[in-house]
Structures are given as C-alpha cells and as structure tokens.
Amino acid sequence: MIIAETAQKFTALAIPGQDQLLFGVCPHPLTCGLGLTIGAGTVFPEVNFTLPPISIGDDTWNEVKAHYEEMAKQILRRAVALAAPGIVLEFELLPAMTERPEWGAEITAILKRHLVAAHEKHHLPCALRVTPTDIRDQLKPPLLRTGEPWQHLRRSLELCAEAGADILSIESVGGKEVHDRALMYGDFPGIVFALGVLAPRDMAWLWGQIVSVCLAHPGVVAGGDSACGFANTAMQLAHQKMLPEVLASVVRAMSAVRSLAAFEQGALGPSKDCAYEGPVMKAITGLPISMEGKSASCAHFSPVGNIAAAMCDLWSNESVQNVRLLSGNAPEAFTELLAYDCRLMNAAASRGGALDLRDWMTASDEWLSPQAAVLSPAATLRIANAIVHEESPYRQTIAAGRAALDLLKEGLAEEKLRLSRKELQWLQRIESALGELPADEASLMAALEEQYGSLYDKPSYGL
C-alpha cells in the first residue's frame, strides 16, 4: 500500500478515454482489509446500516451493540448465501459515537470481529469502512481546527483505526456553514465561495490529518470524502421542488473539486458512496470509487439510480435501518439487492459486455434529469478535464460549473434535455452569475465579506 506523504496536484486525467471509464475497473486498484482488491475487475457490495429509533446512552448501550451484532451477522450470512465475491461494510458513526470516541471504537471492533470470522470460515474477501461524523460544526461559527469537537473527531479516527477499521472516511462539512445559506437563497457567488474557496481549504487540512492517522496505523487506508452536505442537500431539495434541478446539477459538478482534495492529500479511495461526484474523481485520479443509486432508495430519492452505477467500483445502499421486513431485517434484505446488482455487472464484464451495460445504465437516466446529464461517462470526462486544466480550486470550481452548464445547454439545443420555464430561467441566471465572478478568490471573498463574513471562522480556513 502506498500513501502519499505530500500533497499532489492532478494535472492530467488518469482515465482519458470513455472506453476505460466504467464500473469495476480503475488504473490503481486498492487492496485492503481481508483479501479484498477494489477496482481490479469486480464490483462489490458496500452495505451501510444504522439503528432504528433508539436513544444512545449508557442505559441503552448494550441494546445498541446488540443491533450492530445482529446487523453484521445477518448481512454477512446473506452475502455468503449469495456467494458474493467480496463485501465492504460501512459503519457510519452517529454523532454521539463520535463525541464519545470509545463508543465508536467499540462498535468498530464488533463489526471487525464478524468480518474476520466470515473471512476465516468462508474465505470471504472483505473490509470495514469506518466513517466518524464530522461534528466540528457544533459552534456558530464552526471551529474546524481547534476545540473539543475536533479533538473528539481526531480521537475517534485514531481509536477506530486501532479497533479494526480498514478504510477511514468522512463526510466533511468545512464551508457548509456558508453553502447552506447561499444555497437556500440561490446566491451563486456564495455557493462558489463555499465550494471553491472554503471547502477545499478545509478538505486539504482535514485530509492531511486523516492521512497522518492512517500512516500511523499500518493497513488502514485513507478512503475518501463526499460532498453530501453540499451537493446531496441540493439534490434532495431539488427533488422536493425547493431548488432548481439545474442548480443542483451545477453544484454537483463544482463539488468534485473539494472532494478531490482528499486524493490530493493522499487518500487512496474508495471515495464515499454518497459522493455522486465520484466518477469525476475516478477519471482524474484512477482510484476506485463507491457509488449508490437505485438500491439506496431505502435512504433517499435519487434521479440517477442507474447511471450512478455506470462507473462504480463498490455499489452501496447508503443507509438502512435495522427494522424487520418479511424477508428478514432490512440490512440483510438490501445486502441481497446489492449482491444481485453486482452479479449483473460482474457477469456482463466477464462476457465482454461491460461497456454495453454501462451505456444502457447511462442511457436509461441521462436526459431525464439535469442531475443525470452531468453524470454520464462523456460528461464526467468533460468536467474532469475542465478541472485538471485549471490551477487553483477556485478556478477549478468555476471551470467545473461552466462545463456542467455547457453540457446542459448542449442537451437542450439537441432537444435531449427538457426543462420547465422556471428551470430555464435559473439556467440563464446561473450562466450570468458564472460570467460575473471575479478572476481571483480574494476579490470574491472581499465582495462577500458583509454577507457571509460572520458565518465562518477565518483561522479555521487558514485565512
């Protein structure tokens, strides 16, 4: 395993052509956990699971642990029954488990024990991804590099690494305090400032910390991040008709820049499942990614259910509660769904049909939503190319936004994409706003100081 000790800048695409950008394969596969190699030709399920309604406290802790014991046992039993070629379990800590790092570590150890047993008994290649909660946004404005929440998060990363995590990830929130406000008001300069100035700064610092934890724990891989708090928020609000889909689409493309910063600091993938910007990162870095789509409907709506699988290396369900269904508990039922999704992809690949299946999955969604239109292999390469040809995260973010805007306009011109009148108005508004952004981030920051200056802590961003 190689972990970069210094930040690297990606100036060219690791996957320059569409024919190489597909599910299950990448130029730099990752071997991790218990005999699992990701990105070397096989797509594996990544199962994510959570608790049903229950308070987490000293009085309920044994019950909480029992849930995780049950979920791990049932998921792995179903994976073995379906002859899954391998599996990743993802444990997303709940806030209370990060605030009290020993709790998160205890669950990590439980899950790892089940994976070790399945590996020893059934030779199941497997790995455990552990994702502490980014709890650094508790104060207003959030203190990202100092204070108790960061100390707890750092300790949580260390203890989970010691307790058996194979992959460490996070859904980081730096810049979100500004992005939330800007997104709600549809303020494009504010969105660009959050995504292209603040978030990359925090990502670079935070992922430097996470990589250092991994370096101190041999065998633990720095996985990747997700723009969940940014682009997935926009996606869900667009689904509820609260925000324009075209805005969510452009935000998605721009969010790839801040998520890429994890890889620049030495993360090796797979990026987080909810990072729908993952294909852009895969094209740039050649590292494996996890994705989610139709089989994550237990967690949330998605307008990209099939197309999201087109370039995945792990295929996830996002999150499902441990509740009873007719076929068993929900986590094992969704393990089955994922296992069959992966079987189809792997069978297609083994018969030389991977590109066909990828293209069918792409074609089924591509022009039915602006958010899918920026996720095709061709769109991915356009956005990725735009990013690597710019220098600073700010310029890269603008370039990614422009690429997404051009893709949408081309889809409209070719009458593939149809948009309502008000979506078209917003497309025009975004285009104007992109054209009016200052050339450098310092000018943008100065222009937005009155509007957003009180929302963020400048030293938290090295400012």
Partner: protein, 212 residues
C-alpha cells in the same frame, strides 16, 4: 395599495432594499403601519405562498420575499409597539439534542418569518433544558422541533416531557418534523402537530393557533 403597490411588488419580487424604501415612503406619506401590513404585506406574502405552492417559485424566491418582508417590518415594529398594536406570534424552533442537521429547520424558520411570525431560532443540538429555558424566557406561543436521525427522534419526547415537568406544556403548541418523523410518532410523543414539509408547517401553525 395592495397588488401593484411598490411595497407589494418589492416583496413578491424579493427585493429587500426596494421593500424598505417603499415602506419608508408610505410611512412618510402618512399611511398607517397596520394598513401597510394588511393591504400590502400580507397579500404579497399570500401571493408568494401561492406561487410556491403552484411550483412557480423555489425556496430562494420564497426566502428573498421573506427577507424583503422582514426589511419592511424593521421600520414598522417600533411604530406598532409604540401604538400598543398586537405583536406577531412568536415561535421557538430548533433541531433536537444530538442532531446537527439544520437545513430543513432553517427552511421552516424562514418560511415562518415570511408568514409573519417572529422566529427565535435556537440552532442545532438543542437540549430539552434549552428549549424549556427559551420558552420560559421568550414566552412563545409555538415550539417547533426538527430531527433527521432515527436516534435523535427520542429527544423530541424528552423535550415535551421537560416542558410538562416545567409546567410549560399547556402554554405552547408543539410541532415536530424531519425525515424520519411521522404523524403517528408525533401523536405517540404528545405533540400537537406534525408536518412533512416546510410550507405545511406554516399552515399547521396558523391552523393550530386559529383553533386555540
């Protein structure tokens, strides 16, 4: 006034500077504050609400209209208070203990403000004790709680229980919401109402207060 007035148009188009200026001009022309509210501002926000319900407006347009309304209210509030006019209904809102999600809560808060309510936003990770303290101190008519995690939903019940223990429960209407929350859960924990979306929350508050 009303439709076609500068203040009405400024609010519907979400222009806070124009709303402020139009209010100042109207006051200078001798128009009574309550007339401005009833004949321009309320109709304007009704129109904004209608456009949102009809999916003609997204949340940004809605919030900008709310901001414009707030800008106008800044000029009117002192005049209303001085003349002994009834102040807007007060709402305390927060995301419950252990939960850091605030987008949904923020949308509800903004829409309530746009609907003419005075909103006191306690933020995220709000303990039952903090809700109780806010009710004691700020004397709201309504408490709104949000949760996005299944494991933080129980904090809603703890908060309602804390309001009961403090003898404050009967003073306020309690509303709950958030992705995992259901009407059934709201009933189980003794809330007065549940809404599955932000615009529904505003209507719900109005209905509950009308029934009170």
């Amino acid at each position: 006034m009303a439709q076609g007035s500068a203040l009405y148009d400024a609010i519907v188009s979400g222009d806070d500077k124009k709303a402020h200026a139009a209010t100042a001009e109207a006051l200078a022309a001798g128009i009574a504050p309550m007339d401005l509210i009833q004949q321009s501002m309320v109709p304007a926000m009704d129109e904004v609400g209608r456009l949102f319900e009809a999916e003609e407006y997204f949340v940004p347009e809605l919030l900008l209209a709310g901001r414009a309304m707030k800008s106008a209210m800044e000029l009117l509030k002192p005049l209303l208070a001085a003349s002994g006019q009834k102040m807007p209904v007060r709402v305390v809102i927060g995301t419950v203990k252990g939960d850091l999600h605030d987008i949904g809560k923020n949308i509800v808060a903004s829409m309530l403000e746009g609907g003419g309510f005075e909103v006191i936003d306690l933020g995220t990770d709000v303990s039952p004790e903090s809700f109780v303290a806010a009710v004691e101190e700020r004397q709201p008519q309504v408490v709104c709680m949000s949760a996005l995690l299944t494991v933080t939903m129980p904090a809603m019940k703890l908060t309602i229980d804390a309001l009961k223990t403090a003898g404050l429960r009967t003073q306020v209407k309690v509303l709950v919401g958030g992705a995992p929350v259901t009407m059934q859960y709201a009933k189980e924990i003794g809330a007065d109402g549940y809404s599955e979306n932000a615009s529904g929350a505003v209507s719900l508050v109005k209905n509950l207060l009308a029934d009170a």
